[in-house]
Every structure is written in structure tokens, then in C-alpha cells.
Symmetry: D3
Subunit: 223 residues, 6 copies
């Protein structure tokens, strides 16, 4: 990887192969972006699935009655997803409905979404797993959003897991959590992170040879 700017397809491929959320956050730390990891309440449906893609943001809120056209904005949002995107759903920390489920997963998957990050509860978990569509969420509830949750906006800044996410930010989620890379620093972050992985490989190798942490840290300055 030289200084050229990578297209998203190549970028995602490289990131899945070589990177993990920890080294991405460390790299953003170096660049002065120290608050880019979502709250630990967001967990993957399956531990071995990594999500990388551009944020397609959706803002839902709790409501207490059935609206006339409850799904209008939700349908618009889903149908406008583009390949390479990741649905990032903010719910005002809702715990009263399963805002995301199998049908939305299927719809998103067919539009090319690479996964969903839901700061809220989901349902139809088994079928989502069967579909092979990776989702992170804060828990599960079998009740429908109809009359309980409503999409009020999309393609706007949202807060998910305590982090403000803008449309087009790059989301990288693995077993350790969800990192959000602001769109303006994606190339720089990925380039540096790949270099950083090398240094950690040395540290790991020498520790596995039995060296003391002190020696290895003095040599590589990585912990």
C-alpha cells in the first residue's frame, strides 16, 4: 500500500485481512481522535463476524401509538442503501421493541449492505444468523416496532453507542467492539494501522520467546 488513495472495495478487503478494532483505535489515538469506540453494550450476534463499511445512518425513536404511515421513512431508508454501506441505527437507547429483524436484514443484505450496527434491541435472531448478515446490537426483544418505534430521519448525524456517526464514516466492528473512523481520516488511519500491525507482531513474537515485558517494551515501545 503506497500513498495512493484506495477505493472502498480494496480498502474493505485490506482492512478485513490485516486489521482489527484495537489497532484501528490505537491509530486514531495517535491522530488525536480518542473517542471513536462505541459503548461496550453493543455486541456482535456472532463473535467471528467482522463488519467494515460506510455508515448509512438511521434515527429511530420510541413512540406510543400506531402512526398513519409508520414504515414510510424506514422503507425509504432501507431501499436507498448502497453496496458497501453498513446500517447504523440509533434508537434513543430504546429497550421497548426489536427495531431490527429478519426482514430488514434481508432487505439491507439484498441492497448490498455489509451489516448493521443497532444501538437498540433486535429480533428474529436465528434467521438473521442463517442469512449470514452480521449484526451488532445491545440485546433482543421479540416485539415489533409497530406502535413502539418509529424511524424519524436517515442519512443524518446520529449517536450510536455514545459516538456521533456521520453518513459516510467508516465503521469497523469485530469481537472487541465497534470503531468509527471519521470519513476524512480513513485513508491515513488505514495506512498507519497496517504499519502498526507489523510492530506488534515483533512484540508478540519476542514475548512468546519468553522475554520479559520490560525488555520488549524498551525495544519496540508498544504494549
Amino acid at each position: 500500500m503506497n500513498g495512493d488513495k484506495l477505493g472502498d472495495d480494496r480498502l474493505f478487503e485490506l482492512m478485513v485481512q490485516k486489521l482489527y478494532s484495537g489497532v484501528i483505535c490505537d491509530t486514531m489515538d495517535e491522530l488525536g481522535y480518542r473517542n471513536q469506540a462505541m459503548n461496550e453494550r453493543l455486541r456482535p450476534l456472532e463473535n467471528d463476524k467482522t463488519i467494515v463499511g460506510r455508515a448509512k445512518t438511521i434515527l429511530a425513536v420510541d413512540v406510543y401509538y400506531v402512526h398513519d404511515n409508520p414504515y414510510d421513512l424506514e422503507i425509504e431508508a432501507l431501499d436507498s442503501i448502497k453496496p458497501g454501506e453498513v446500517a447504523v441505527v440509533s434508537t434513543n437507547r430504546s429497550s421497548n421493541n426489536g427495531i431490527w429483524g429478519e426482514l430488514l436484514s434481508t432487505a439491507a443484505h439484498m441492497r448490498g449492505a455489509r451489516g448493521a450496527i443497532v444501538d437498540g434491541l433486535i429480533r428474529d435472531t436465528s434467521r438473521i444468523v442463517e442469512l449470514g448478515f452480521p449484526v451488532f446490537c445491545t440485546g433482543f426483544k421479540p416485539v415489533d416496532s409497530r406502535g413502539r418505534g418509529l424511524v424519524v430521519d436517515y442519512d443524518c448525524p446520529v449517536e450510536a453507542g455514545g459516538i456521533v456517526v456521520h453518513p459516510g464514516d467508516l465503521v469497523f466492528a469485530d469481537r472487541d467492539g465497534v470503531a468509527v473512523i471519521p470519513s476524512g481520516i480513513v485513508q491515513e488511519t488505514v495506512r498507519r494501522a497496517i504499519e502498526k500491525v507489523e510492530r506488534e507482531n515483533h512484540t508478540r513474537k519476542e514475548l512468546l520467546e519468553g522475554k520479559l515485558l520490560k525488555e520488549v517494551y524498551e525495544k519496540y515501545g508498544v504494549l
Copy 2:
């Protein structure tokens, strides 16, 4: 399934084969029972186990010393379980003891219980899994209930996961959570839910063919 009333054995068999907690809650929504899913803190010991059965309610509370006959009511409750029942244990949201464990699971299992829903902590998790007895709970703690928890009543209304459960209510629990069907609407709920599953199959199929959510929703009105 025509209009006839089904016996519990046939009912449970049908429900395990054809239904899931989401479609059951959607159906109860239609019938005006909108608050029948337990809190998301209740999670299954194993994701692939479904529980369906009639609620055998047990009410336990935290205590702070060893009573003279600490297990009298607990033993009575367990020994009076009948085949097809599910132990539903309310603990006043206890987090100071593992109120349910291997021996209670074994005793319940031998009486014909189909599982246990514990709004509290459990222990002996590995052996319960070996026994093949499905349990939902809010977490784990290795300490005994002796001098910490006490069964004070059973076969009475209890609250578990924020839902009032009456003896004989039907409990359906899967990976998405725990739904409680009041005894009076069980037949109606199951009949409608089975029909509803059909409609969702159409929606799913057409989404998987690549149709937009908008088209499919306009056609089937299901999301």
C-alpha cells in the same frame, strides 16, 4: 388446524415446529395484548433451545439468615410440578444468590417440566446443560440460596421480567426472548400466528428475489 381446541401436547408440538417468539408477540399485539414480552435481561443458557409450556409460578425473595425450614415451600413447589409445565421463578430481582441449580433442574425435569424461566441468577450451569434442561435466567452466581433466598409462595401470580405471569399462562421462550400468552387467549393466538407465518414467508421470499421493501410491503403489508 381447524377451529377445534387443541390439547396441550399437540399445541406445544405445533408451536415448536412452526412458531417463534416474534410472530407470537405480533399476534398478541393484534389481539390488544401489547405488553407480553419479558425484559431483555432474561437470556437462554443455550441459544438453540426453545421452551414452550404452562407456567408453574414460584415466588422467592432475598433473606438474610437461615430459616428453620428454608426449603419446605421450595420442595413442595418442585414436587408438585406436572408434565408440560415450565417453572417461572420470580425473585424480586435478586442478585445475591443462585436460586436455581442442577438439583432443582433435575427434580423439575423428572416431574416433566419443559424448562425454567428464572428472573434471577442460577448456578451449576455446566451440569444443567449436560442434563439438557433448558433454562432462561438473568445471570450466574455460584452461591447457594440457603440463608440468602427463600421461596415464600407458589402457584400464585408473580412478576418475572416485568410481566405478571399467572399459573397456567403459556410461556414461549426462544433466542429472541420470553413471551407470555395469557391462558384465555392461547388457542386464538396460536391459530392466528400460524396463519401469519405464511404471510411472512411470502415477504421474505420476494425480498430474497431482490424486490424493494416498498414493493413487498405494499403487497403484503407485513414488515
Copy 3:
């Protein structure tokens, strides 16, 4: 096992083979130590891993800037771990960084540590699993401790999971949770616990033969 005092290697072997956290806590209850199980927020990275060993305590706290020598005490603590020890990390309930990760796991592992109990968040989860080093923690976060967490002391009393742990206390952690055996009662606790396991085997066997809980409890007095 007669009255002789067992060395740690033989003790750990016996405990892993014959005991589990529940029977250990029950035994400590009998000895009057009723508050020795950590909070249920501490969960194992892998359900089938048991940790047993002597507590190597480490105290970390949240900080809000990068110190001059941020890792000095942390490195000292890790490099001084001895075979048979378990790192017990207190963090003042931190949720702002992954205080423990792959490199610390590797370093601890190479010094002979039998696992780590972290009352805080960790990162590099996949690699820790690959390494085969068992860890209990309260969750996951991909961000580094640099400028966020600092080791301020070690080999001192700490609180982890709500339990005060002294250096040299014996830690036993399995799928049900984490038990802490004060160093002065280790031999007595293990001896009694092994006897207790026998009695529970009888209870289980007779329940599995279909006897009522009442009969079995009257016979063995164990529940």
C-alpha cells in the same frame, strides 16, 4: 486426601478435577465465609475454561492524560508474576478502556500465570482465545489504556467484583462465576468441598431415579 497439607500444584490439579465454584462457595458458607463470590458481571471469555491459582493483584485506575512512564508499574507487575498465579485486576469499575489485552496475556502466560480475572474491559479477544489463556472480564472495548488507565499499585489488597482480594488468596473461576478463597482457609475448604461433592452425587443419582425432592432432601440434607 488425608489431613496432610497439599502443595499448590497438587491442590490445583485436584480442584480442577473434582470441584466447581458452587461446592466451593457452599463449603465457605459452612466455614462462615459467606461473601466470597464476585459480582455476576464478571464472565468468562470461554464457558468451558476453569481458572484456579493464587491471586497476583493489580490495581489500575482511570486517568485522563498520558503519563511520563505510563507502563512502569504495569510492566513490573507483569514481569514479577510467578507460576501458579492468576492476575486479578481491579480498575475502579472502569469502562473507558481495554485495560487487558493480547500482549499482557502473552506476557502473563509466559511467566506461568494460569489466567486473569479483570474487573473491567479487555481487548484483543480473538487472539487471547487463540493463545488459550483463560480470562474473565466485564466486557470488551478496543481502546488502549494509554492515557486512559494506569496501574498505580500491585501485590496489594484490591477489590474485584465487589470482593476484597489479598495477594495469595486462591481464586477459582468457572462458568458459574469467580470464588475467592482466603489463603488461611484454602486447605480446609478444599478438603471439605471434596467430601461434599460425594453427598451431592447421591442426591443427584436418586433424583434421576425419579424420587421426589422431599424424600431425597430428607435423606441427604443437600439441595
Copy 4:
């Protein structure tokens, strides 16, 4: 008070003079409405202020950017308040802005509102107290709703303090908390509650004469 239906002005006057939230909830209990008291997180700005009036519901949600016309619905909602109403503001449990403040209090007060019940944070507390406009809320935060909170609906069912409130329900709030009387049972509740107060007066009087609780309870059946 005979069987005649009272107008709101006379009703509110009677209620403030003779009733308190406890006796109102007890009366609703008798009528089978057992879940009509808001969560205890809602507290009065001043302990000695009672609010009684018809619910004017407002639904606000957290947002993360400044909308084009952020105050349109909020202004409409406030300007349409009628005398005898109480603003009931639901915020999806927001804690990121002071959704209610002095200017809204002044506007509501001038339209004839009798107070505000805010399930969220407020600001300009000192000036609201000076104005003499009674407010209940869950806490305080000096930041504006601009770019943080948005009114998305009003005159619709909302949830405040865990209770669904419909426009026109009667709200009664005093130092013990906030009771919501569904509009259909207001007359019946008030009539019965006034009678009930009489019986409690007897109980209190005899207890103050030194009688045992047992005697007094046997005589009046009130506790």
C-alpha cells in the same frame, strides 16, 4: 358533591383542597387501574406545589444536529395550550439536554397551563421558581435542546415516567409523585377518593389517641 358531573374548574379546586396523590391511587386501585403512578425519578421543583390539570402531551426525542426549523412543532404545541392543561413532556428518557426552561414555562403559564410534568431534564430552574410555575422533572442540565432534542409530535399518546398518558387524562402531582387518571374515570375517581379521605381521618385520629394499629385496622379496614 352529589352525582352531578363537575366542570374542570370546580373539579380542580376540590381536588387541590381535599385530595392527595396517595388517596387518588388507592381509589384507582379499587377501580382496577393499578398502574397509574409515574416512576419515582420524577420529582417536583418545589415540595409544596401541587399540580392538577388535563394532560397536554408533547413528544420530544434526542437528535444530533440542528434541524432547519427545530422549534416549529414545539412552538405550535406551546401556543395551542388551553387553560386548565398541564404540559406532559416525554423525551425518550433523554439526559442530554434541558428540554424545558424558563421561556417555555412563561409561554405555557401565559396560555393558562397549570404546570409541567417533564420526563427529562430542565434548566433555568431559579427563574421558573420565581415565576411560580410548578414543574416536575427528572433532573437538571444547563444545555439547550437546539441540536440535541426535538419535538416530533404533540396531542398524541406519550409515555412519561413509565405511564402511557393520553391527551385529556387528568394529571395530579404532589410531593409523593405523579398520578395519571384516565379521562373516562375522572369523575368516579374523585367522588370515591373524597369519601375515602373521611375514613382515613378516623383511622389517623384513633391512632393519635394511642390505639393499636390492630384495633384501628379491624374497625376501619384502612391502612
Copy 5:
């Protein structure tokens, strides 16, 4: 105060005059009783009221239906209160009812109770204040305990505010919180605490003269 053992009346008088919860806790720290202050969620109804007296313990739990004789044990407990006692009510951390109210306050007051410490919610707050009966609690809710809370035991060990309280322990509660002095160390604690107050008076005096903390601490060793 010489080495003689004081009667409770004289003891309470002395304590109210000379002591406060802080110096009592410091003294218990010196005696090795370091966990004797209740959780900070317990707050006084009025900041300027101090409670001192012997614990009359009451254990209540949440229930979900109306029992046949719901008040039997509650009435027994209240009617058996003796002068100099303080009701200490444990509720399993209930937040669903106002377990304590005006009538119980009046009954307790007439039996000679010096106050109540309720680890739960109360109601009838204004009238309790008028009555002049001091109460500490975790909050307020206007709903009755009938069908929601039940006294299941009294004069037994209970946990309130995270502290196990035995009947006859001495409770001292002021604006800073609630301290529990085990009955066996009451005389020793009070004797030492009164001496300790003297030393603090010197420290305060010299600080008010403008001396540095360093000088004063070196001289008196109190902070």
C-alpha cells in the same frame, strides 16, 4: 462520661448532642468495623433531623396479588415497637409501592419509635413531615402496598442500604447518611467517638486560624 455503661435514654441524648455519623463511622473504622454505613440512596425526608435508636427490623417483599390477610405481620410488627426503637424496613430494593406512609408513621410514633429507615419508597410525605416523625428512604411513590408489598418477617436480620442490620443494633442517621453500630460495640464506639470529636475541634480551630493543612495534620493526625 467515665467507663460506666450508659442506659439507652442517656446514650441517645449524648449522641444527639455530641456526635454525628462521620465521627461514628471513623470510630468504627478504628475498631475494625469498616462496612457500617448504608448506601447513599437512603436520604432523610428533612435534612436537619437526626435519628438515633435501636433497630426494630421489618422485612417486606414485592408481591403481585392481594393476600388474604395482607397486613397481619405488618400490624404485629408495628404494634410491638417499643420506645427507643427505630423501624428498619428492608424491601428487597422495591420500587413498586410506597411501603411506609402516614398511618404507619403515626402508629410507630405513638409506640415510641424514634424514626424509620426505609430501604424503599414511602408516601404521605407531607403529613409525615407535619407529624414530626423522621424518616429516611430511597424515594417516593403514591401507591399502596396492598397487592404490591408484603411484610414477611420482623425482628430478624435484614439488609437495608447494603448493610445487614440485626434487631437491637444501634442506628444513627443524619444528613450525611445512616450508620449502623452492632449492639456489642455500642458503648465502646460512643465513648471513643466523643473523645475523637475533641481532637477534630482542635484541627478545625487551627485551620480557621489560617494554618496549612500540613501543619495541622502533623500536629493532630486527624483529617
Copy 6:
């Protein structure tokens, strides 16, 4: 107030006279500093006290044994307070001790401190009120920090109420909460805030004359 830079004494005087936390936060919003108000858990000891001054930061953490010189850094920190400063105490969200009390208040007061902002619990509340030293805190606990809390650093960046505070930042705390003005924007913030107060006065006045919110907002653009 012209463009001249004001000295701190004059600045504080102006701010106490003319400003309040709400208008300060609104002004910082305009300047792009949108996250400068502490968490609502921090509340004033007395509602009518305002604190304004320069942050003197102190970092304390929970510990679990008595250190050799537990008060060394704490004494240094207190004795180095300068007139016009406000102690800002971070405790890693401690709830196990009263880290701040009367003696520290007295010492700080005599050095010229204008108050204390404690993100933790305090004790000796009554005497602090008598002393007239304003304190904000998250609650109260009568136990000493000795063996429970330790000052580990001071004059360093800390986090209090969720906000990172640097030494020298300006703290403004009133009944609505605690605002932190970064040192570099103090003059600009104060200048603009004073102008903003004028505009709000117009809005208030016209609302009090009975105008609709719509009219007034269209005229002044303030809400």
C-alpha cells in the same frame, strides 16, 4: 464591557451578577463547544449558591488498604490552592467513601478557594453549610477516605461529571448544573453571554405581555 481582557476578580464578579449556566452553555454552543456541561448527578449542597472560579484539579481513586502516607498528595494539593480557584475532584465515580468533608472545605476556604465540585460523595454536610463554602457533589456518605480513597495526582487533566477539566479552566456552577469553560475561550464566552442575556430579556418580557411564542421567536430568534 469593551474588548479589553478582564482580570479574574472583575470577571467573576460580572459573571455572578449577570450570567447563569444556561446562557454560558448556549454561548459555548455558538462557539462550537457543545459538550461542556457536567452530568446531572452533580448537584449543589444549597440551591442558591453559585460557584465561579478557576479549576484546581485533584484526582482521587478507590483503594482497599491504608497506605503509608495516605494524605501526602491530598495535603499538598489543598495547601497549594490559590485565591480564585475551585477544587474539582475526580474520583473514578467512587461511591465508597466521603472523599471531601469539613476539614478539606475549611482548608480550601482559608486558601481562598471559591468552592468545590466533587464527582463523588462528601460528608460533614451540615458543617460545610455552616461554613458557607459552596460544594457540588453526587451524594453523601459518612465514611472517611482513609483506606478507601487516595489522591494520586493533582494539577492534571481530570474527568468530572463526564467532562475533561484542565487546570485553569473556568468553572461556573449554579442550580442548573456545572459548566466548564476551557481557559482559551473564557473572555469570548463571557463577552458574548452578557450580550445574549439582553436578547433573552426581551423575549421574556414580551411573553409575559401575553404574546404567542411564535411571534416572539420570529422576532428575536431565541428560545
